[in-house]
């Protein structure tokens, strides 16, 4: 039986998993939509991963979670490693592209840049308050134009003269887009203009002050959009690498982190069928009104978070006991 390391990346839009062998080969993987239910998504994910592991005779010995639901899923799977998605992405990408110097990432709700030198991440930035220029922005514009967002890339590439769209701010971009459409710019040019606007916005916000050196790898859901890839390539004057497995990098990275942690415990796929429940409770202990989340398995409290102080934990324990 071979030893495997499971990495689970639960994002706001999609949930990904990868099982790595001891020498970093991807033995099993899965990719599906979170659909606002991370626990349910991970249950389905485990159902897909289990037969793949059985087929190549792999036993999962360590689990890592990442993504915005990492704590929740970490509690559910009793994960050995719980790590933020930026570190996980950097680790995953470096394992596949050791030469990379710049990692660009645009996801559903956030965008980041990671600067790598000699195989070590040395600097990074993430969008601050403003979510302009992320996947959510593109999806909103696609709805406005009544075109599936999946077709955006193809249509943008057809354009020869992208329309100039003000990319500084989502609100302005939107009104600018409407104006350009009303005065008669072709839709393909407008879509290409949106792709250029996203790139300009990214480079002026997240990428500000960073030295972007080739080789560049572009990841996240928006990297599937050829129009944005082309706009990046033109703006930076270099080739942009987009990995087929780009969507799995977070899962691969967190599996690697689980392996490196050295912490191991036999993993049982039946954890998916356990009575794992979460519920939200207002602490009410003080004016902070912390929103606690209680995670229970078979009626026992296994974790709680969302509290700003110890009182929240005490309260959580009391609430579960009284139930």
């Amino acid at each position: 039986m071979r030893r495997g390391f499971l990495g689970v990346d639960v994002g706001s839009i999609s949930t990904k998993a990868a099982v790595l062998s001891e020498d970093g080969e991807v033995l099993a993987s899965s990719y599906l939509w979170t659909e606002g239910n991370p626990v349910g998504a991970v249950r389905r994910l485990l159902e897909e991963i289990e037969p793949q592991c059985a087929a190549c005779d792999v036993e999962v010995v360590s689990v890592g979670t990442t993504g915005s639901a990492r704590e929740l899923i970490g509690a559910m799977l009793s994960a050995q490693t719980v790590k933020n998605e930026i570190t996980a992405h950097a680790m995953g990408t470096l394992s596949k592209n050791p030469e990379v110097q710049t990692i660009l990432e645009i996801g559903g709700q956030d965008s980041k840049i990671i600067i790598v030198r000699d195989g070590v991440p040395v600097d990074y930035a993430m969008n601050t308050l403003c979510a302009a220029g992320t996947g959510a922005f593109l999806a909103a514009q696609a709805r406005r134009l009544n075109i599936p967002v999946e077709e955006f890339g193809e249509r943008a590439l057809r354009s020869t003269k992208p329309t100039r769209i003000a990319g500084r701010c989502t609100v302005f971009a939107e009104s600018d887009l409407v104006h350009k459409a009303q005065v008669g710019h072709p839709v393909d040019d407008i879509i290409a203009g949106l792709c250029t606007a996203i790139v300009e916005n990214y480079l002026n916000n997240v990428g500000k002050g960073k030295e972007i050196r080739s080789p560049v790898v572009f990841q996240g859901g928006v990297s599937k959009n050829g129009g944005v890839v082309k706009a990046f390539s033109e703006a930076l004057g270099c080739d942009i690498g987009v990995d087929e497995n780009g969507h799995l990098m977070g899962a691969i990275g967190t599996a690697l982190l689980a392996q490196r942690s050295g912490r191991e415990a036999p993993f049982d796929f039946s954890v998916g069928s356990d009575e794992f429940e979460t519920r939200g409770v207002d602490c009410g202990g003080c004016a902070n009104m912390c929103e606690l989340v209680l995670a229970t398995r078979d009626g026992r409290l296994i974790d709680a978070w969302g509290n700003r102080c110890e009182r929240g934990l005490v309260r959580a324990a009391a609430l579960v006991e009284s139930a």
């Binding site: 570190t87 990074y124 993430m126």
Partner: protein
């Protein structure tokens, strides 16, 4: 009619000047009550009282005044303007805090003192004037102020010395992170404290820009970033970064939305410091701790990986 119980809002100036003023008032026989540390309730009260466009610390300030209402005879809201030509000026929110508070709370008695070199009002003169207004003799007020200043100076010095010792004694293997921000943000229970706590949980040595020694020197060194910075606190922050940049592994800049001077500082730092990782965190009233945790954690990871090489 002299007020007997004076409320001090735990906001803006009183994060730095609060202890001095409290000790001084106590010295002249006035009871001083400070509002409790910021919590969600204070923030929400502030949000409902303030105009939307003002900055988060000002909204929190109004929440603190509201928290004191009914518990004190008067609330003290000073005005800080030009400190000295070489120090720079205070932000306009400090200039306007008194008038804004009076307008938002017309039924409240609001005491004030005015520190502004432009009109020859040094802090001593301003505070002695306040003492007179509260019925203290000149001699009693002078003595109380002298004692309060002595006490506070030694407390401030020990904070700065504490950081210097921390810096000298900390394990050189542990990464050092300089957190640059205003004291009224760093010391606020809702804005800065959660971030400092997250950093401490990451096993890094946390140094604060407002505890870097030799403030006078810091104000001078700010010119390395820009020759003509107007705002006093921003000069000190940039000076602290100029002084410390070679000695730290990362710089975290905290600013509150939508602060003009702070956003300028963040911009200058991002453009001019290219050899140290920088993380800019913008605080607003909606800031969710989840997003903060991801940012703080990943920044510390990058700093640690960079060190490990």
């Amino acid at each position: 009619m002299p007020a007997t119980t004076v409320g001090l809002p735990r906001s803006l100036f009183f994060h730095t000047e609060g202890t001095l003023v409290r000790r001084y008032l106590e010295g002249i026989g006035v009871t001083a009550v400070m509002s409790p540390p910021t919590d969600r309730g204070i923030l929400e009260a502030g949000l409902s009282l303030a105009v939307d466009e003002t900055c988060l610390p000002m909204k929190i300030h109004l929440g603190h005044v509201a928290a004191l209402r009914g518990k004190v005879d008067a609330v003290l809201v000073p005005r800080y303007g030009v400190l000295a030509s070489s120090f720079g000026e205070m932000c306009v929110k400090f200039w306007g805090a008194y008038d804004i508070t009076r307008n938002v709370f017309p039924d409240l008695e609001v005491l004030s003192y005015d520190v502004d070199r432009m009109y020859g009002n040094r802090e001593r003169k301003a505070l002695l004037g306040l003492g007179r207004e509260l019925g203290a003799s000149h001699m009693a007020a002078s003595r109380a102020l002298r004692n309060a200043r002595r006490e506070v100076a030694s407390a401030k010095a020990s904070l700065v010395a504490g950081q210097t010792i921390l810096e000298a004694e900390a394990d050189p293997g542990v990464p050092r992170i300089l957190v640059a921000g205003h004291t009224y943000i760093l010391d606020d229970r809702l804005m800065g404290t959660p971030i400092l706590d997250l950093l401490k949980a990451e096993d890094v040595t946390v140094l604060r820009s407002d505890r870097v020694p030799d403030v006078k020197n810091l104000r001078k060194r700010a010119v390395e970033f820009s020759p003509g910075l107007k705002w006093a606190y921003n000069r000190e922050q940039l000076g602290a970064i100029a002084t410390m940049r070679d000695q730290v592994d990362g710089i975290m800049v905290l600013l509150s939305f939508p602060c003009g001077p702070d956003s300028l500082v963040a911009e200058l730092v991002q453009r001019k410091v290219r050899d140290v990782p920088i993380c800019v965190i913008v605080l607003d009233e909606l800031t969710a701790t989840g997003g903060l945790k991801t940012r703080v954690e990943s920044f510390c990871d990058i700093v640690k990986m960079r060190r490990a090489g």
